[in-house]
Structure formats: structure tokens, C-alpha cells
């Protein structure tokens, strides 16, 4: 496996469709195009938020997908303190969320006085889903240039859960803690037609259903009866993109609420220990990290140094793999197929 990377960003030579010039600069760095002027998109989003938030809803204005990371915590602070929204915060407990992240969530929601839900799907089913995502071609290779299969399987459940809660509670907004760099500037405030998205993902869901069982529909689908009585789709709003604030300032602001930096997750995740496993499988299968695209984008926008990005990619506690494999109940042949060293049998 080649470990050559673009000399400007961190994309690996094994990243699909990439070419390099004489100086080792990748085609994406040479020719990246700016879609919209970012400033005008942010301004537009700011006006939209002002208009949309003028109307208040009971019992909740918004549902927040709360990972427990610093960005979700800061987004919750903004929603409550700056915008005065009534927020229902929720966390999807996939069985691998770090204990520290849960502590942080409790501190922050308590400090801000918001309702919080932890949604924990059946671990038996989640295990089958994560195993299928790691072992079988559930998602297209092109999808997997942006995200690992395991994270994609999990994030889709988070998104569906957020939407279901928003529809059930008639909350008009779904908040998430994405920053510019993670999402395009014109996706600060947006709305998607859920039925269309669901139809568009029917193929991969079909493969997952075949591997795991019909139960997956409970986690990846919104029942027709709920969709039929629901009004228009909620708006997705990423409030953090409207702020000019550094990472350090965010950390300081949430530390006041009792948030502490977790030490039990890898460099690319602020809350999930399964991330290490997903990254490992992706790296071995494709020869590049699923975070390269996002980190490279941040470098090109001047939001992160190349050194910092390389550090994040390298910060993988691989010694945890055997323990994660045990918790996923991987068989010896499955471990071999996923390049996981045989672990000590659980005590």
C-alpha cells in the first residue's frame, strides 16, 4: 500500500480519480472550484435564520442531534442563549459512545436546562448492522470516499431519528453542529424532501435489509402514517456556521458549562470509539482514511494546518481493535477478513 500523499492537502495517492502534478500537488488542490461566494451564502443563511426563528413553536422549536462533542455542545448553547430556542436534545447511543461524552452531555444539557433523550437501538441489531457494513458491499465505493461504511450506517440512523423526533414533536428545525468545511456553505439552512431521499437510498437499504433483516426499516425509515400527517419537512440548520469563532474559543465557552475534552477516542472523533474500527477497516480496504477528504478541504480553506490533519489521521488507538471486535462478536474468520489481530479471549 502506498502512503504517498498530496504535498498540499492530505489526500492519498490511492484516493480514487486523483492525479498529481510534478510537485506532488493533487488535482483537487489545483482545480478546486468555489461554488458560491461563501460570504454571500452565510449572509443569506443569517437572514433566513432571522426570519425562520421569528415564529415559535410548542413544545419545541428544534431537535438537536447531540454527539456530546464540543461543536454540538456549543450549538446547543447558541440555540438556547443566543436564539432563545426551546430545544429537545437527543443522542443516539450506538453502544460505543465514550463514557466521557455522556458525562459531557449531562453537564451541558443540565447547565442549559434543556430536555434530553438518549435513543439506544437494540444492540443485537446494531451489531449486525455494523458487521454487515464492515464485511459486505452495502454502500457504493463512491459514497465511501467521504465516510466509512460503519459511520455511514450510524449517521443515517442519527438523521432518521432526528427527523422522526422533529416530526413527532412538530418541531420545525433540526439542529446539528456542523462547521463550514464539513458542509457546503449553501447547506447552512436547507430542507430536503425526505421521501425522495429515502427512495434514493432504497438500493443500499435493500442490501442492508438482506444482510440484517427487516428490522432495519425501523431505524432507517419513517412510517408513512407519520409522514402523511406531518406538515412540510423541518429545516436543517447549522448555527455554528454563522459564527466567527475559533476551536479554542468554542472549547473555552463549553468548558464553562462543565464540558471536558475526552481522552478516550481517536483524533478524528469526539465521541465514538467505534470510529477507530471503522477507520481501520476503511484504510485497509481502500488505502486511505475516510477523513482525508474533509480534512483536506479544511486545509485548503486555511482552517487547519497540514500537520494538524496528519496528526489527526495518525491518532488511531489501534490497540483497541481487538476489544471492539469482541464487542461486535466478530468470528475468527471475520477478524481475519477485517485485518484484525486475534485478541485475547475476553476474561
Amino acid at each position: 500500500m502506498s502512503s504517498a500523499r498530496c504535498t498540499r492537502c492530505v489526500l492519498s495517492s490511492s484516493f480514487p480519480g486523483l492525479t498529481f502534478d510534478g510537485e506532488g500537488v493533487c488535482s483537487f488542490c489545483r482545480g478546486e472550484l468555489m461554488l458560491t461566494s461563501e460570504e454571500s451564502a452565510v449572509e443569506h443563511a443569517r437572514r433566513q435564520v432571522e426570519q425562520l426563528f421569528a415564529v415559535r413553536t410548542r413544545p419545541y422549536d428544534a431537535v438537536l442531534c447531540n454527539s456530546g462533542g464540543k461543536d454540538s455542545s456549543y450549538t446547543l448553547k447558541l440555540a438556547v442563549e443566543k436564539y432563545g430556542l426551546r430545544v429537545l436534545s437527543f443522542t443516539l447511543d450506538n453502544g460505543f459512545i465514550s463514557p466521557k461524552a455522556f458525562e459531557n452531555i449531562r453537564c451541558v444539557v443540565d447547565a442549559l436546562g434543556v430536555d434530553h433523550l438518549t435513543v439506544r437501538p437494540s444492540m443485537q441489531i446494531l451489531r449486525r448492522i455494523f458487521k454487515a457494513a464492515a464485511l459486505l458491499p452495502i454502500y457504493r465505493d463512491k459514497t465511501l470516499t467521504r465516510i466509512s461504511a460503519g459511520c455511514n450506517a450510524c449517521i443515517s440512523i442519527v438523521n432518521t431519528t432526528g427527523l422522526r423526533l422533529a416530526l413527532e414533536k412538530s418541531a420545525p428545525f433540526i439542529l446539528a453542529g456542523f462547521t463550514l468545511g464539513q458542509i457546503p456553505a449553501n447547506a447552512i439552512v436547507y430542507r430536503n424532501n425526505f421521501r425522495f431521499l429515502a427512495e434514493s437510498r432504497e438500493e443500499s437499504l435493500g442490501r442492508l435489509r438482506a444482510a440484517v433483516g427487516r428490522e432495519v426499516d425501523e431505524y432507517y425509515g419513517i412510517g408513512d402514517s407519520l409522514l402523511d400527517r406531518a406538515g412540510p419537512s423541518p429545516h436543517n440548520v447549522n448555527l455554528l456556521c454563522l459564527e466567527r469563532v475559533t476551536d479554542e474559543e468554542i472549547v473555552q465557552a463549553v468548558q464553562v458549562l462543565g464540558w471536558q475534552r475526552p481522552k478516550d477516542v481517536d483524533g478524528c472523533s469526539s465521541n465514538c470509539q467505534l470510529n477507530t474500527f471503522n477507520n481501520h477497516v476503511h484504510q485497509r480496504r481502500f488505502g486511505y482514511s475516510p477523513y482525508e477528504l474533509e480534512l483536506s478541504h479544511l486545509i485548503r480553506k486555511g482552517l487547519m494546518s497540514r500537520e494538524e490533519a496528519l496528526e489527526k489521521i495518525a491518532d488511531q488507538p489501534l490497540e483497541q481493535l481487538a476489544a471492539i471486535a469482541s464487542r461486535l462478536e466478530l468470528s475468527p474468520p471475520e477478524r481475519v477478513a477485517l485485518w484484525i489481530p486475534p485478541g485475547r479471549p475476553p476474561a
Partner: protein, 95 residues
């Protein structure tokens, strides 16, 4: 529809399709040859839901066609060819 209008519509669809194709290949790092124009871009893995937001923003900037939530259907957005026909039809309706 008279024949010359038919031809006009067809060339307009072609024009929109090329612009969309150029936008998609540049923005989402994918080669033209790898895009199936009759299949959903989401299903092919070319775009995710954010990509869909970017395409609708591009359609608005480039063709002044506003895509509303209810426009996002399999019929209108289920493939690159369908998007091109949808945008061209909207442009004619508002011409």
C-alpha cells in the same frame, strides 16, 4: 408542439444536461464516464444529501430555477437526465 419548438426544447435539455454534468464532475470529484445519467446520483454514491443541496443551489444560480421541496421527486430529480428535463421545462414555463 410544432417541430421547431420540439427541437428547441431538446437543445435546451442538452444544454442544461451538459452544464449539470460539468458541475457534478467538478464539484464531486467524479469522471464523466463514471456517471450513469439514467440512475439516481444519490444511489450511485456520487452525491449525498448535501450534494443535493449544492445541485439545487447551482440550478438556481445558473438557470434561475428555484427548486422547492415538493419539486424534489424521483420524477424530477431521480437522475441527471431527469434533472435536465425538469430544469428545461421550468425555464420554458417561466420564459
Amino acid at each position: 408542439m410544432p417541430q421547431h419548438e420540439d427541437a428547441h426544447a431538446a437543445s435546451q435539455i442538452d444544454e442544461v444536461r451538459s452544464a449539470l454534468l460539468a458541475f457534478v464532475t467538478r464539484s464531486f470529484m467524479v469522471n464523466e464516464a463514471d456517471i450513469d445519467r439514467d440512475r439516481s446520483l444519490i444511489d450511485q454514491g456520487v452525491i449525498d444529501s448535501f450534494g443535493l443541496v449544492e445541485i439545487t443551489a447551482f440550478i438556481f444560480q445558473q438557470f434561475a430555477v428555484e427548486v422547492r421541496e415538493e419539486d424534489m421527486t424521483r420524477e424530477a430529480f431521480g437522475s441527471l437526465n431527469k434533472m435536465a428535463r425538469f430544469v428545461a421545462r421550468r425555464m420554458r414555463e417561466h420564459a
